[in-house]
């Protein structure tokens, strides 16, 4: 089945089986491996991408459901080689260790700050509770998102 979607601003078409998951279209067909797969059971959030601006777990979306939609992955997040303020603050505040959860974590953080530009610590923790990190213990991730909120607020 023909699926046509915009990935990071570029319209592309793929011929996939209807059972193909969006995460596999991105990784195996579009060769964008920044979106990770871990639990495969809709829990960990490593596969999070933006679908028409909304954070979704791409292991729980069929590629055919994204037909005609806009997808943003971590590869499309930096602009002209310059890191997004959220990426910068993950770097500054040590918001990652192994980095496996990071692409999903950053896209979820983006969704959070877009809806709530000045979140409390509790709101940040609730906002990212669909994303699991087995390394950091979360505190540095919360710090990074708080710092990114301040940076984005200056713009």
């Amino acid at each position: 089945m023909e699926v046509s979607l915009s990935i990071n601003g570029e319209v592309r078409s793929f011929d996939v089986e209807p059972r193909t998951l969006l995460v596999h279209l991105l990784r195996d067909h579009a060769k964008l491996t920044g979106t990770h797969v871990a639990c495969e059971t809709s829990i960990c959030g490593a596969c999070t991408v933006l679908l028409d601006g909304q954070a979704v777990k791409s292991c729980t979306v069929l590629a055919v459901q994204a037909d005609g939609c806009e997808v943003t992955t971590i590869e499309g997040f930096a602009e002209d080689g310059k890191l997004h303020p959220i990426q910068e603050q993950f770097w500054e505040k040590h918001g990652l260790q192994c980095g496996f959860c990071t692409p999903g974590m950053i896209l979820t953080a983006y969704q959070l700050l877009e809806r709530n530009p000045d979140p409390s610590e509790a709101e940040i923790r609730r906002g990212i509770d669909g994303n699991i990190c087995r390394c950091t213990g979360y505190q540095h991730i919360v710090d990074a998102i708080q710092a990114a909120a301040v940076e984005l607020g200056k713009k």
């Binding site: 998951l21 959030g45 777990k57």
Partner: protein
Amino acid sequence: MIPSAFEYLRPETLEEAIRLLQENSEEAVLLAGGHSLIPILKARLAQPGILIDISRIPGLKGIGREDQALLIGGMTTHHEIESDPEVNEVCPLLAETASLIGDVQVRNRGTIGGSLSHADPAADYPATLIALDAEFVVTGPDGARSYRAENFFEGPFDTAMEENEILTSIIVPAPQGKIGGAYCKAAQQASGFAVCGVAVTVMLSDNGQIEFASIGITGVSASPYRASGVESALTGQAPTAETIEAAADRATEDIEPIEDLYGSAEFRGHLARVWTKRALEQAVKMAGS
């Protein structure tokens, strides 16, 4: 984890969706937000031959107001409900319930119609929609009919809907007056599903007595239910701490609590009584303020 192969259809009208269901009733299932169905397909707990995606049918999505009620399309997402200004103003209890479902990614995709049709005994909306005395409108080959929320759920993953019917909208009455509502739940850690979820609405009369109380409970029994014993213990009474505590003790009257790895029957019964008390206290406080 990849589902077994299926054919994918995406009707553009409700009539077309119902016709496709009728023509393929042996092997077709509806796909809404996919956040119950896709995990099931991936685990191959079901292997339907055809998926009928109803997400692009105009008119199935959105929130409107009609007299003293909210009208919510079946394809409306949890996020749309939690963030809608009208729902927050007219029925904050429903917005709060939606905001407590899963995580943000789940709320961005999952729909109210999908959640109710799926009838997971641990789902959140059923408690709240029973407490709000909502009506579910379903449309099938013979036209539309409706169910009261409390008569809709018939067992785990089982509803009163007939084959080939689609849950098209939810009507939520929004009475005026000294009303308060609360939803309290003990959640499963990983998913957020309710081990016990209690929704309460109360209305106080001008002299501060309880005019009516309406209580829906989910997660505790094989189906969500109305706690009638609690309600009758409260009607016409002053909302004192003793009255509330004695009423809450009737939360599992005539109910057999279920048992699973999240809790024993005894534990669930205890949770139901404690959370009923807390939800009542919150709702009464809100109604009085």
